[in-house]
């Protein structure tokens, strides 16, 4: 179903339809994440991917045209390039451990320690929260910095526009 949505996304030329399809795609992705036991990530994806992103896209569409022009040339070179990257990735994925393999390195390195010691050391039963806020707190700090910088960038870009408009009128 996700694959069908993505193909429709790539073919559609009406940008409004593309944005609505992208929202539906985000909800599908959130459903898949619930099935993969990543409930915190699924909640964030549903709120941020399907909610905030869609609002941002619609705001941008309101300020621009909502119809995409026909491409001037056939997309043969991009198709070949993307397929080449895909073939390389398939070749690379052959060396990865199979799905849900309990002996894979991802399950034997630091994860058992977080799961065994996390509740004792932090007092939080949700291990994702414990790791996010306690063990890897610096990640969240860096993330806040990125969001702050992006906010400054957006303000700088859009404020200049208003000033130009005021000078023209």
């Amino acid at each position: 179903m996700m694959v069908v949505t993505v193909v429709a996304l790539a073919r559609s030329r009406n940008l409004f339809a593309v944005v609505v399809l992208f929202g539906a795609y985000s909800f599908l992705m959130a459903t898949v994440l619930v099935a993969l036991d990543a409930v915190d990530v699924a909640m964030t994806e549903a709120a941020v991917g399907a909610g905030i992103s869609t609002v941002l896209f619609l705001g941008a569409l309101h300020l621009c045209r909502s119809e995409e022009a026909k491409p001037a040339h056939r997309p043969l070179i991009p198709l070949a390039l993307a397929s080449g990257v895909g073939a390389l990735l398939v070749y690379g994925s052959l060396g990865l451990p199979a799905f849900s393999d309990p002996t894979a390195p991802i399950h034997t390195h630091v994860a058992p320690r977080y799961l065994n010691e996390g509740p004792k050391e932090t007092g939080v039963p949700n291990v994702v929260t414990a790791v996010l806020a306690s063990y890897r707190g610096y990640d969240t700090f860096g993330e806040t910095t990125v969001v702050f910088t992006a906010g400054i960038g957006v303000i700088a870009l859009l404020r200049r526009r208003n000033k130009n408009k005021a000078e023209q009128s």
């Binding site: 992208f22 990543a38 991917g49 941008a60 990257v85 799905f99 993330e143």
Partner: protein, 126 residues
């Protein structure tokens, strides 16, 4: 057969990644490019989350009666990635809106045409 099923999640991830890459390169519309970037990002979420799942396990919230949990570390990393992704998206869309203000278009071809016409007239004038 079981080996094929074991690689199904990688196949979906790779298809989404290739589709996102194709949209980014092949489409000239700037907003369509941002959608392609979003699809590319979600494929990476899947790449991180899928190996952390254990069949028969539950979400990593410690409770009595459960002993098998999925790996919490990729969840944390991807939570950060989602928020950073939305910040990048906002910045990219702001750039697209600004380009639309300056050129009256968000199509790559038309923007390049205008740029070339400007350079040509400048060369003739100087």
């Amino acid at each position: 057969m079981s080996t094929l099923a074991g690689y199904f999640s990688y196949a979906v991830t790779i298809f989404l990644l290739v589709a996102g890459l194709f949209i980014i390169i092949a489409r000239g519309n700037l907003i369509k490019k941002m959608v392609g970037l979003g699809i590319f990002q979600t494929s990476v979420y899947l790449l991180y989350i899928a190996p952390g799942k254990l069949v028969g396990g539950t979400a990593p919230i410690i409770a009595p009666g459960f002993h098998v949990y999925s790996n919490p570390l990729p969840h944390v990393l991807i939570l950060t990635a989602i928020v950073v992704g939305v910040a990048t998206l906002a910045l990219g869309l702001a750039l697209a809106v600004r380009i639309h203000e300056a050129y009256g278009s968000i199509e790559e071809d038309e923007i390049l045409e205008q740029d070339n016409a400007d350079a040509g007239s400048k060369e003739r004038g100087g």
